[in-house]
């Protein structure tokens, strides 16, 4: 019996010893370690190769910092920035004058004769509109991004003075007399789309990627549309006259004349320089660092912008210097 107890005790000691050895002391031999090292190296090389194939990682050994912006992200950011550039452009036009005068002829009993002469003048005191950008189309190439940006002139409104003078002749003059009315009316600016063309020239300025927009001047046509109130005024003007006079004024087609006069609107030139505000992409290097007990200047030498099909890359060489040292 005692023999069995001793054997069991020895087995327990062996088991505990073996467990402690395996748990706390045993380590793989040199060959097993070497196998593991080779496996890590193989996986690392595989990963780097796959990254170069798939993600088109660009590497420039001399650059301390590389920034890679995927084409999709660059397109989105550039698109949003360009849209931001052109959003909220307000147009204010003041003191615009339109005038149209003509003699009106109509077929009467004794042939075609002059029934009167009208003078229509519109004095636009002020009209305001807003330019709203649409979705830009971007084309990436080398160090620039081509931009086609639709903009619409909309949300326009203003005040105008409408003056209509009718100098009736012959029978129309006898039944209508002379008409001279003036009315303050409101007007709107109908929506009209235009296209801006330009480029976003990319460069690295100090430590940031900068897109410098370059747009040419664009001529915009801004039509003006009298409000419903203005049309009511014209209707009332005609309605108050006698039947013969109404027939003569109907020939004059005052509404169409007003519409035609204002529909051409005014031409204004949107200067390209208004959009040429540089856009700095948000990744930038700090120029100084404060560490306990010392202040460090960060010297940055930018390198080129490189556009691969997958990413836009730019790099910087960075050197850290004591703030007290003179700059390079």
């Amino acid at each position: 019996m005692r023999r069995w107890v001793r054997a069991a005790f020895a087995a327990a000691v062996l088991l505990a010893g073996g467990f402690a050895y395996a748990r706390f002391w045993w380590g793989p031999g040199p060959e097993a370690l070497e196998r593991q090292r080779r496996e890590v190296q193989r996986l690392g090389e595989w990963l780097e190769r796959r990254l170069r194939e798939r993600a088109r990682l660009h590497d420039s050994a001399g650059d301390s910092v590389l920034v890679g912006v995927p084409a999709g992200v660059a397109e989105r950011l550039a698109g949003e920035a360009v849209t931001g550039l052109a959003s909220g452009i307000r147009l204010t036009l003041r003191d615009l004058r339109f005038r149209k005068s003509d003699e009106l002829r109509a077929r009467l009993l004794l042939g075609r004769r002059s029934v009167g002469r009208f003078v229509l003048s519109v004095h636009v005191h002020e009209v305001r509109a807003v330019l709203r950008p649409g979705k830009p189309r971007l084309r990436f190439g080398n160090d620039r991004v081509g931009v086609t940006l639709p903009v619409a002139v909309e949300d326009g409104s203003g005040r105008a003075r409408l003056r209509f003078k009718w100098d009736g002749r012959g029978m129309a003059g006898a039944v209508c007399g002379d008409v001279s009315v003036t009315r303050e009316v409101t007007a709107t600016v109908p929506r009209r789309s235009h296209t801006l063309q330009g480029v976003l020239r990319l460069s690295v300025d100090e430590s940031a990627l900068v897109g410098q927009p370059e747009f040419g001047d664009v001529e915009l046509q801004v039509p003006i549309e009298p409000s419903a109130e203005a049309w009511r005024f014209v209707d009332e003007l005609i309605a108050r006259r006698s039947a013969l006079c109404r027939a003569a004024l109907a020939k004059a087609d005052v509404k169409q004349k007003i519409r035609g006069l204002l529909a051409r609107g005014v031409r204004v030139t949107l200067p390209g320089r208004l959009l040429e505000r540089p856009i700095r992409l948000p990744v930038e290097l700090e120029r100084s660092l404060a560490t306990p007990g010392r202040k460090v200047r960060v010297e940055v030498v930018p390198s080129d912008v490189i556009l691969t099909p997958a990413r836009l890359w730019y790099g910087m060489k960075v050197e850290l210097r004591n703030a007290a040292e003179p700059p390079l």
Binding site: Q41, L43, A55, R90, V268, L274, L285, P292
Partner: protein, 253 residues
């Protein structure tokens, strides 16, 4: 114990001793565990790259060279602290390597008895970078140094033996290494993300453009140490900024 039992015990002990001679001991065991972790990290990264989750077409990529990170870390040195009873640690130089998915930080310095500075040992402290963040306000990338292993290189002493120092250093343990790492200030990588892009007001002829801004949201997606660079992958998106009171427009150029 009878003769057979004694022989069996002796046989087993001899077997264990033989296995122990051929195996690598605790140091090899630690290296094997580190290699296993590294291989797992690499496999996960490969899977993420293959499924377009890492280095994808959504991420802005920052590649920061290991030399720059070393220089930045070096700026925070030397650090000195008294850790464990009577041990004075001074870390003086830093080495950084970004390879195979692992960021390795090696700090070299000296540990000495606070009470007897002539008794010292040169030490190498191994660790890595962790806790990467993009600052909410300043938009700066930062990381902390984590220390996980101490190695004694050379002991100069009044009869002090390397094993003794090693034993002592093992006593320092993880809490002491963590407190030593806390002495190292956060590593600030001097790359900043502007949260807002301001576009100034401008006027030209009948046109007037109000001051506007774009807000950028920047989120840290992943950090990968590879090929001598620390690749920081960021999710960046833009949105129009809040409405501002109209600024006084400046005349166009």
């Amino acid at each position: 114990m009878d003769c057979l039992g004694q022989r069996a015990l002796a046989f087993v002990l001899a077997g264990l001793a033989l296995a122990g001679c051929q195996a690598g001991g605790p140091r090899a065991r630690a290296e094997a565990a580190a290699l296993r972790r590294q291989a797992d990290t690499l496999r996960n990264l490969i899977a993420a790259v293959e499924t377009d989750e890492a280095f994808s077409s959504r991420h802005v990529t920052l590649g920061i060279g290991q030399e720059l990170v070393r220089d930045l870390l070096q700026l925070t040195l030397p650090i000195e602290t008294v850790t464990a009873p009577d041990l004075h640690v001074r870390l003086e130089t830093a080495q950084v390597a970004f390879e195979s998915g692992e960021s390795r930080v090696t700090l070299r310095g000296r540990v000495s008895r606070a009470s007897s500075p002539g008794t010292f040992a040169d030490v190498v402290v191994h660790g890595g970078l962790h806790r990467f963040e993009v600052g909410e306000r300043a938009g700066q990338v930062s990381a902390r140094v984590a220390l996980d292993r101490v190695e004694v290189r050379q002991a100069e002493a009044e009869g002090l033996r390397r094993e003794l120092i090693e034993g002592l250093l093992q006593h320092i343990g993880a809490p002491s290494l963590a407190s030593l790492a806390d002495q190292i200030p956060p590593l600030a990588i001097p790359v900043r993300f502007e949260r807002t892009l301001e576009l100034g007001a401008m006027r030209a002829g009948p046109f007037e453009i109000a001051r506007s801004s774009l807000r950028f949201r920047v989120g840290l997606a992943q950090v990968v140490a590879l090929g001598g660079r620390l690749w920081v992958l960021l999710d960046v998106s833009a949105a129009p900024g809040p409405e501002r009171p109209p600024g006084r427009p400046e005349a166009g150029p």
